[in-house]
């Protein structure tokens, strides 16, 4: 028996459940929020300045994100038995979070500036959402990088 044998039935032996979870989060972010920004961008480009027409689109994106996360995590748990989060997962999570939080801070600062400069609410809301999107995207990418390259 090889000393590198893994759990029987684990079809994705190189990644822990936590790492697979980050991949699922990244996919849900790109598909759901990426799709939202694609459509919202064309609406903004067409001159839409009210916030309410964006609400159904936003709700759809959030529901899609939740569905992708649930389906992805259930599939991942079926493919291999999930392990508990250990100290390495926590350290990687903390490092990625602290290295990506500045993006969210910049977005909040930009949104406050937009409010002070009397920009339309639609711009303020989208600057905030865009900052959240990019901060989460960066967090996921950094986490995956730390999992592969080490911490």
């Amino acid at each position: 028996m090889s000393t590198f044998d893994v759990e029987p039935g684990n079809r994705w032996p190189g990644a822990s459940f936590e790492e697979k979870s980050v991949w699922i989060q990244l996919a849900s972010l790109v598909l759901a929020l990426g799709g939202y920004f694609y459509v919202a961008g064309s609406m903004l480009g067409a001159g839409e300045r009210a916030l309410s027409p964006f609400a159904p689109l936003f709700v759809t994106a959030v529901v899609l994100m939740v569905v992708i996360n649930i389906v992805g995590h259930v599939a991942s748990a079926i493919a291999s038995r999930p392990e508990l989060r250990d100290e390495r997962d926590r350290l990687i999570g903390w490092r990625a979070e602290s290295a990506s939080s500045w993006l969210l801070a910049i977005g909040i600062f930009a949104a406050i500036s937009a409010m002070l400069c009397d920009f339309d609410n639609v711009w303020t809301a989208h600057v905030l959402l865009l900052a959240l999107f990019f901060a989460e995207l960066l967090r996921c990418v950094l986490q995956l990088l730390f999992y592969r390259r080490g911490v």
Binding site: M1, T3, F4, D5, S16, E19, E87, R88, Y147, G150
Partner: protein, 82 residues
């Protein structure tokens, strides 16, 4: 003004050899005993992750050896006795 340069510490380990000696214990089995994921054992073995003292001591206990038999370190290129 910057202070003196901290010494460079490189940590090595003998986990793979110890697993072989322990009846060819798999990474998954060691992970279960220590309470971390198999990927974490793989990362420690490959020098990609330095575990906490708690996990290091748990490993030493699994192999029933002193901590210095599991982990060794070099400080500024000189072997350091744990």
């Amino acid at each position: 003004m910057a202070g003196p340069r901290p010494p460079k510490v490189v940590v090595h380990n003998r986990i793979r050899a110890l697993r072989f000696a322990a009846d060819e214990m798999t990474q998954a089995e060691l992970a279960r005993e220590v309470g971390v994921s198999r990927q974490t054992i793989n990362a420690i073995e490959g020098g990609k992750y330095a575990p906490s003292l708690e996990v290091a001591f748990r490993m030493a206990r699994v192999f029933d050896v002193p901590l210095g038999h599991v982990f060794q370190c070099e400080i500024d290129g000189e072997p350091h006795r744990l």
